[in-house]
Subunit: 86 residues, 2 copies
């Protein structure tokens, strides 16, 4: 995503890119109410694409952040599968 | 995420998991307004974690969906970097 879009994302900035992400999450919500699997897959792709763009603009390594917080076990109870009681 | 959380996600269902995702996107928006890098990384991790949980519940392969729509080039102009004129 950085190679494809960073030149555009960096000009748009954090706020504008965050607003796009919010819009894509809404579109994903709409797609979840339909039975169109291809459209649903495309909306999931769009959300992760915009989340990735936002991470690039915010200078966050999305994959590293995810792996640090969720290192194949629940960060709260430390178990796989999660054994939290709440 | 499937190994850690699917037993919980599948009970919660699509609507409840989507609502959690929306809440996490809001928290990410709040974190973007601060200067706390660790908190920001954690919020990015939470959004991708809940997006992954939602994909599992909706029976969508998130990675495949992303790679199908964004195969290292812009899906609209077909260029890397994106050369769209809009």
């Amino acid at each position: 995503m950085r190679q494809i879009y960073f030149h555009r994302d960096s000009k748009r900035g954090v706020n504008g890119t965050y607003n796009w992400l919010v819009d894509e999450v809404k579109e994903l919500g709409d797609a979840l109410k339909t039975n169109n699997k291809k459209a649903l897959e495309d909306e999931f792709a769009d959300v992760i694409a915009w989340l990735s763009s936002l991470a690039n603009v915010a200078d966050v390594d999305l994959e590293a952040a995810a792996m640090n917080k969720y290192p194949n076990k629940c960060p709260k109870c430390k178990y796989t599968p999660c054994n939290c009681t709440f």
